[in-house]
């Protein structure tokens, strides 16, 4: 459970990135934070593991005030996968890379071995166990970064722009993977601009603009509301755009899902032969 109470944050250079954000994220929730560049999305999630501390207001992670504990303590429960894997990979082998955090958290060597094998298997990286992370492709490096966080099995997983530079197949795997995590009652928080990905995953969506939360609700409610979508500087999913253009025909405008769209079209064609 993450509780954010009226949080303000100003960077040392004077930029006010958060202006009164209040939010509560229950365990097992899948959340997508969306909004234009500079809306404060990444700044907000960096508060969840204590990398940033609020200038005003407070954040409680499982009842613990982030102001009072170190990043390392919070990180044990809150895993954060950064956007660019090149910002964290440094070991000689993929195996060491995945074990890095486990060693920091003082896991026993026996447990580390088991966890590393588990994480590599999960992300289909076993064949690269002894390879240098620098020899891998961009998508693979991203998976190594993800594995290195999932290895310690945090309760909350934060993914910053996880779909950037991933092909369709990898995105689909990521989606299944998130479903799997939420099934285990893990909280998954993604920061993303990828409307199509959000439309497919249908998480709880939080729209941000200018350091504030503009609205929150189901992906369907949020992505089909033109006013909100414009405020957050994103475009509705393509499916929704098609249906928004066909309102004259009496078609529904609140669709983000391909299957639902197909159904609606078939119904329409049946009724108007």
């Amino acid at each position: 459970m993450i509780e954010i109470k009226d949080v303000f944050f100003t960077y040392p250079n004077g930029v006010e990135a958060l202006r009164g954000v209040s939010l509560s994220i229950p365990d097992g929730e899948f959340i997508a934070i969306m909004g234009q560049n500079g809306a404060g999305k990444t700044t907000l999630v960096k508060h969840f593991n204590g990398l940033l501390k609020p200038t005003r207001g407070e954040i409680l992670v499982d009842g613990v005030n982030t102001q009072k504990v170190s990043v390392a303590t919070l990180a044990r429960n809150v895993g954060f996968v950064f956007q660019n894997p090149d910002h964290q990979l440094f070991c000689e082998t993929v195996e060491d890379e995945v074990a890095f955090a486990l060693r920091n958290f003082d896991f026993e060597e026996k447990v580390i071995k088991r966890r590393v094998a588990w994480a590599l298997n999960l992300l289909d990286l076993e064949e690269y166990r002894k390879t240098s992370p620098f020899m891998l492709s961009g998508g693979e490096r991203k998976r190594v970064a993800l594995a290195s966080v999932l290895a310690w099995d945090p309760q909350v997983v934060i993914l910053d722009e996880p779909t950037i530079g991933q092909d369709h197949k990898q995105k689909e795997r990521l989606r299944q993977f998130i479903v799997q995590l939420t099934a285990q009652q893990k909280t998954v928080i993604i920061v993303t601009h990828d409307v199509e990905f959000v439309a497919e995953c249908a998480p709880h969506v939080i729209l941000m603009a200018n350091g504030k939360i503009v609205a929150e609700g189901s992906a369907r409610q949020m992505l089909t509301n033109l006013d909100l979508v414009t405020q957050a500087s994103i475009a509705p999913p393509q499916i929704t755009q098609i249906f928004l253009g066909l309102t004259d025909l009496g078609l529904p405008t609140d669709l983000i899902d391909i299957h639902a769209a197909k159904e609606a079209l078939l119904d329409f064609l049946e009724a108007n032969p």
């Binding site: 990180a75 910002h87 920091n104």
Partner: protein
Amino acid sequence: MSVFDGLRFRKVSSPIHRLDPRAKFFYVIVMFVVAVVFSELLPLIVLFLIQMPFVFVAGVQREWIRSLRGALFLAVMIFTFNFIFGYLSPGGITGIQPPVDSLSEYLMLLERSLAMALRFIVLVESFSVFFLTTSPDHLGLALEQSHVPYEFCFAFTTAVRFVPVLAEEAQTIMDAQKARGLELERGNFIKKIRNYIPILIPLIVSAIRRSLELAEAMESRAWGATEKRTNLYVLRLKKHDYALALISVLVLALAIYVRFFVQIPSISVTLRI
């Protein structure tokens, strides 16, 4: 990162900012030479003080103080080492007859060690004023007009321009590794140094990657296609520039005169009388 902040140029206008970089560079070199010529405390204090007007006229006090604060740690080291080694092997530059046992000898040693630390501060001070008030573009232009090959000028200005970018990247990498449980302050002295490996490797790798990308991007935009480059702006020495150069020459001449013909009083000796 505070040292870098103290050298980062910000676009403002002041008489000092408008001076020709070549004149300012000459002034810095003179300051450098004079600081190295003297090893007594008194002239170094004078040298420290005569630069103050520049700082205030340019209006860069805050950044300047930050750069001095960044240099303070090294200055303290210089002081400590000079004091310790001066004590262990007196004579040499201090001219104290070993062993160091009387109060006056201690004071002389103290004065000499302070002078060495202040010499370093004066060097940082003049460089800081130079970089705080000279835009990288003007600097490149000045180099080019001094007949330095364009490739070198470009490499130099690019390096200067990328310092803040690298500093920002270092911060991101630190965050990413802290999120994986890295505690920079953990462990003994050796461990603390080792803690920086996970920061340095990604930083170096991404700097190399970035430079290769930059080279490709520039070549695809026809960098170096024309043999003879012309510039939109051409630097011309004005009255003020000649005035600064003249002052620098006078300072240098005075310093040389004082060095050879004036007995510089020691502060501790003077105060004792």
